[in-house]
């Protein structure tokens, strides 16, 4: 093989895009030709440098929220942190488990393929779950597990049932008396629900530890006639749900955020 031919194939060679025979011929030529071999080295350096140095532009979070909103208008855009969890297709990950014993592999497939059938909780699905929990608490005559307006009764009640601590404050003076606490499940995690009243309206404040950690800014949505605010602080998720109007619920949220 001559230099001219080798250089024509060199890109495909470093990209592993030529067949075995071509590849062997290029290799043989490179072994004897310092010029072509220097060219190969420089190509590989460029490739490594491009991979290491080219800027991977990251999408502004507001843009991502807007784009997701195009698909689901009127609902809160799932926040960007839910994306990395989805980015790896679960099915592909399942291959790594294939080497396990068949029974274990079958079990692993079930688990790993799970998220594909039941999507990773996005903010939207969490919203559905939280609003559903709120509605259930009103319907099933199961508003509270511990009925007490005393924060010193409600807080210790949770302590035996959750592996995290929840701060409980009664805001009767501010017009949101505490009526009790309840245990719920959100995102497959036990969640504390603190129950407050405002006249005839019930406010559920759901609290559970965030899997992602960190803080998230206050966001709002309405779903099925209910208003909800949510935020994350110090690794905990907070969701306040009620049929109260937005302004009154916001007052409650301000109290809750100030205290925590």
């Amino acid at each position: 093989m001559i230099c001219h031919e080798t250089r024509r194939l060199l890109d495909a060679y470093v990209d592993n895009e030529i067949d075995l025979r071509g590849s062997l011929e290029v290799e043989e030529h490179l072994a004897h030709c310092p010029g072509c071999s220097a060219d190969e080295k420089s190509l590989r350096e460029l490739q490594a440098s491009a991979r290491a140095n080219l800027t991977r532009y990251s999408m502004p979070p507001e843009l991502e929220a807007r784009l997701r909103d195009l698909v689901r208008p009127g609902e809160p855009a799932a926040s960007p942190p839910s994306v990395p969890a989805r980015a790896t297709p679960p099915v592909r990950r399942a291959w790594r488990w294939a080497a396990l014993a068949p029974a274990a592999a079958a079990a692993a497939l079930l688990i790993v393929a799970g998220p594909r059938l039941w999507p990773q909780p996005s903010e939207a699905s969490v919203a559905d779950a939280v609003v559903a929990a709120h509605v259930r608490s009103l319907l099933a005559n199961h508003l509270t597990d511990v009925a007490s307006s005393d924060q010193h009764t409600v807080k210790p009640w949770f302590q035996g049932k959750l592996d995290y601590s929840v701060s409980v404050t009664d805001w009767a003076a501010e017009g949101f008396p505490l009526v009790g606490g309840r245990l719920d499940y959100v995102e497959n995690t036990p969640a504390a629900s603190l129950v407050y009243k405002r006249a005839q309206h019930v406010v559920n404040l759901f609290v559970w530890p965030s899997k992602r950690g960190g803080d998230e800014p206050l966001q709002r949505l309405s779903r099925r006639g209910y208003n909800a605010y949510w935020w994350a602080k110090d690794g905990m998720h907070y969701w306040a749900v009620s049929d109260l109007n937005e302004a009154e619920l916001q007052k409650f949220v301000e109290l809750a955020r100030r205290q925590r």
Partner: protein
């Protein structure tokens, strides 16, 4: 929730970051990249029923790429179909651009900045092939399908883009050693 929305969200939306990166490289500014992404997602969602392939990432990148070209045709047609003008593009590379803010300049190392600018100075058809290969790791075949060009053209564009960048690197090293 309609199944269509759910499967679009699961299959296509995870690749938005890759789509944005491509749009940003093709358009070279944030603002236009955002407009194009918006257009691309609308298109992708509209034509999602026609997607039957196994590679949603390549599919989304194709839609983003087409939207970017439509945008360029409408707004910056002179950037398209540029023949590789060694002198012109060489000059653009050596002059560097000065539009970056001081903060941005500080953040990036000289090496990074240099290579970014050199790639940005390539004509869009060459830049596209280079970015898809080196940043997205697409195969020649995937790039050919995406850009609707023969594999031979992928190879020649990639090769010319690399030669150009190698020359820029060599000039820079030379300038560095003599100054």
């Amino acid at each position: 929730m309609p199944d269509r929305v759910v499967s679009f969200e699961q299959l296509v939306l995870p690749h938005l970051p890759a789509g944005y990166n491509l749009a940003r490289w093709l358009l070279r500014n944030d603002h236009d990249a955002e407009d194009v992404m918006q257009e691309a997602v609308v298109r992708a969602f509209r034509f999602f029923d026609g997607f039957s392939g196994t590679n949603p990432r390549a599919w989304l990148l194709t839609v983003v790429r087409n939207s970017a070209y439509t945008f360029l045709q409408q707004n910056r047609a002179r950037e398209l179909g540029t023949e590789f003008d060694e002198e012109l593009h060489t000059e653009a590379v050596s002059n560097g651009r000065t539009s970056d803010t001081p903060e941005v300049l500080l953040l990036r190392s000289a090496q990074q900045r240099f290579l970014n600018e050199a790639v940005e100075a390539l004509p869009v058809e060459f830049r596209e092939v280079f970015v898809l290969r080196e940043m997205e790791g697409l195969s020649y075949k995937e790039i050919a399908d995406l850009a609707r060009i023969p594999i031979g053209t992928v190879m020649s564009r990639l090769s010319r883009a690399r030669r150009q960048l190698q020359a820029a690197v060599a000039r820079r090293e030379q300038a560095g050693s003599t100054s």
